[in-house]
Amino acid sequence: MLTRIALALAVLAPLSSLQALDQGEARHLLTRTGFGPTPDEIAELLPLTREQAVDAILAKNRTTNRLAPPEWCNVPLADNAAQRQAEEKSWKGLSEQERQTKSNERESRDRKRGVELKAWWYREMAATDSPLTERMVLFWHNHFTSSLTTVYDPRLMWEQDQLFRSQALGNFATLLTAIPYDPAMFIYLDSNSNINYRPNENFAREVMELFTVGEGFYTEADIKEAARSLSGYKIDEATGRPALSERFHDTEWKTVLGHKGLLDADQIMKILMEREERVAIHICEKLWQEFVSETIDAKDVYKIAAVFYKSKYDVKKAVRAVLLHPKFWDADARGTLIRSPVEMLVGTIRQLDLPVDDYAKVVEMGRALGEDILDPPNVRGWKGGSAWISTHSLLARREIFSAIAGGSLGNPNGKHRKADADTPAAGGEMAGEAMAPAAGAKDPKDKSAKDTAKDKKSDDKKADAKSEASSDKPAAGPHPDRGQWIPDARKQGTEGVQLAVHLLLPIDPVTPMDKDADLDRALKQLLTDPAYNLK
């Protein structure tokens, strides 16, 4: 099958698939698999053919984070669970009012940490050398949804991030098998209240409808029986993860999708994975919509699904097949997908090399734009695609991106890029406090950048007051000169403006560029052009 597809591709694909990419193709590949391409990212791909370029992007995949997370993420799960339990226990003797105060205190600590975690993720996305990894972590976050609002404990959402990250382009079966044991999911879909004498169907329903086979490929009876099979999991003190507790488990016989047995979570996941064709189609439809088009052609997707399930759910192989599909490369396909808020925010930060002083601001922007990461609206996640565009969201996009163009996240000037955001976490051992973006802690501002800034913002003062002394961090990141194109283009007049247009937009701007506009005015116009919403 694989070879047949490869052959079919070779026959169908125009000659250009064997030639080196042109600028537009490189940009297209990068924007669809990442956030917003930078000139150096484009330059890296230019000598390569389509296949080489796709493989180069896939080869950069990461399975761990690059930047150190907030410090509290490093507390082992079991210790974290024990700590929280001890906290609750210590409230027992207190009066109702004191107990309320304690619980409010914990809630506000959790909320603060939640923002820290979200800010960390934005920072990671802005700094990463593998944007595709981040896009896939977002993809799984939007597939196996959980939300901080429901889960409460941010430590558990961090655990889930690590799971998604480890399998971002890994193996779907591994991911699915781990999901019933993911502590955040355990809370999010009410598995903690699914017990033998009162089953809760929430997880059983979503695992079929959303995570695996999809609507229409199971019966209500399957859900009832699966819920009973999944009953009685409780958090194990030794690991901080769900484990089967016989006392609450329904030990009767059950039949799920035709399989009869004394079923438990592992067996349910196995039974679902055996519906390989259906599961693969479901996942590949989503990948197709993520990367190629909102319109699904069943035949195209089926071919990719076949690659997926024959490889025993190798995500990288499926994504590769998607990215090498001729429809992905169709010149008319450029700019026909809507960018998500995160893609626009992170893309803008990367392309303009914005020296973001406080990523909590970016978190707030994402939330206002309708994509509050780690807090999806409901179990179906964000609808994405054309659903990003609404009366409200377009007004919010205009307002926020005008503000960014006006310097609300710092001025677009690569020379003054902040040093420490690019410092990688050393060999899996995450650096300590100095690097952990504690909430409220602002990064040092570059004085010279500030002095030359035209659009000084009042919050600079705040940032200065709270800044930490970490300016001795080395400036060496993977792209120390990511923003160098801006001062360069600024010197080149009309040509510089053209460069910015081609970098920032997938198609021509809707509002024609003013011939005499200088680069800074052009950037402002481009960030609010209707075409900036597209990828």
Binding site: L189, D190, N200, I389, T391, L394, P530
Partner: protein, 401 residues
């Protein structure tokens, strides 16, 4: 809509691929619509309003017994009948009660109630079952299917009270596809923002760009329409209370009287999570609600718009029957809700809750919360499709022909 359609298409085509020779029929085409000229004003009492101190079962000795510090003395209650009376701060709602256009729906709730604010309001917003998560809001499901969208639609909904705070969270029952929802604190801000959105045109064939430009054009049009409507709105009768809810209700009244085509206004008043010092805090909020609704009624009656308006309240849960140790009440279950409007048949609806036969200390509901939505969608808007996952929910039958 578009997305759902092709998802369905591909679902069917992959089915067809797996079972060749078997025909799969799509849903039979069916035209459903709503009466676009009729508005629902939905007011969220955020935080979980205590129903027992709103509509007080003053004659039941179990009430005072369960709430030594929080109960409202029987003598203070504004008596509606021999069993129930309104919180004494709610006098502004008495005219509607006396005129028979205020309905009080007893003990609204659902099976296996959830006591979390977030999950609770999620269930209320989507109209789902307790152990199920539905993607869209109930009103969005209704409106995105409603055909015959009029040209002069200002918006499917105007959401007051979430401006600049959160996007999807604020949509609540209106979260869904392809709806024109306006989130604002007041018309001036919206008009200004809509005007700041530059008009843009293109002959493009790119569907994504077409969509962006279409929505931008809608915004431009809504901004101008809103400006016209506000300009022609008359001065309002009725004394609206100070505060955000009063302002929101005033905006709502103006737009409705001016003839804005907006099927739903969604307003929020926050602060009902009264774990401590409930009397003082809740009374203040209920004063705002009651005076606001009283003024809205007066204004709409004077403006000839009361008959095309249906007002309803909702909240994520009620509160426990027994008070806690902080002169407050904790998260509970069922609570009464109000329905009022020119076409509402006033009076109590459904059986009152028992204060002694409790479920784990909580009231057992007597009215399904989704029956409020059926009343709004089916009886009020004339929407004929069934939109709930729970089978067999009926409208309350409290709308006059």
């Amino acid at each position: 809509m578009q997305r759902r359609d092709f998802l369905r298409l591909c679902g069917y085509s992959s089915l067809a691929m797996m079972f060749p020779g078997v025909a799969f029929a799509g849903d039979p085409p069916k035209t459903v619509s709503i009466d676009w000229k009729r508005s629902v004003v939905l007011i969220e009492l955020r935080g979980g309003n205590d129903g027992l101190n709103t509509v007080v079962p003053y004659a039941d000795p179990a009430y005072a017994k369960a709430r030594p510090a929080v109960a409202i003395p029987a003598g203070d209650v504004l008596k509606l009948d021999k069993q129930f009376g309104l919180n004494p701060v709610m006098g502004a709602m008495l005219p509607a009660w006396k005129d028979g256009d205020l309905a009080i729906v007893h003990a609204v709730g659902y099976d296996h109630p959830n006591r979390s604010h977030f999950r609770g309001i999620d269930i209320w917003n989507s109209g789902s079952k307790a152990d199920e998560m539905q993607g869209d809001g109930w009103a969005a499901r209704v409106m995105s299917k409603a055909q015959g969208v009029p040209d002069d639609l200002l918006a499917h909904s105007i959401i007051l009270g979430y401006d600049k705070t959160t996007a999807y969270g604020g949509f609540g029952p209106l979260y869904g596809d392809a709806l024109r929802n306006i989130i604002m604190n007041g018309p001036d801000g919206f008009i200004r923002e809509a005007r700041a959105m530059k008009k843009a045109e293109s002959q493009t064939k790119n569907p994504a760009l077409q969509q962006v430009l279409k929505v931008q054009a809608d915004i431009n049009a809504s901004g101008e329409r809103m400006a016209e409507l506000v300009a022609k709105a008359p001065a309002l009768k009725g004394k609206f209370p100070k505060g955000q809810l009063g302002d929101f209700l005033q905006t709502t009244a103006k737009l409705i009287i001016a003839g804005a085509v907006v099927p739903m206004y969604k307003l929020t008043i926050d602060g009902f999570d009264t774990h401590s010092n409930q009397r003082e805090r809740q009374d203040k909020l209920l004063t705002e609600v009651s005076e606001g609704l009283g003024a809205l009624r007066e204004a709409l009656m004077a403006g000839g718009a009361w008959d095309r308006t249906l007002v309803g309240t909702y909240s994520e849960f009620g509160r426990r029957v027994s008070e806690n140790g902080s002169k407050g009440t904790d998260h509970g279950t069922a609570a009464p809700h109000f329905l009022t409007g020119g076409k509402v048949k006033g009076g109590f609806i459904g059986a009152p809750p028992s204060l002694t036969e409790l479920n784990d200390g909580d009231l057992v509901h007597t009215n399904d919360f989704r029956s409020l939505y059926m009343t709004m969608a089916q009886e009020w808007w004339g929407y004929s499709d069934y939109f709930l996952s729970q089978k067999g929910v009926k409208a309350l039958g409290c709308i006059k022909a």
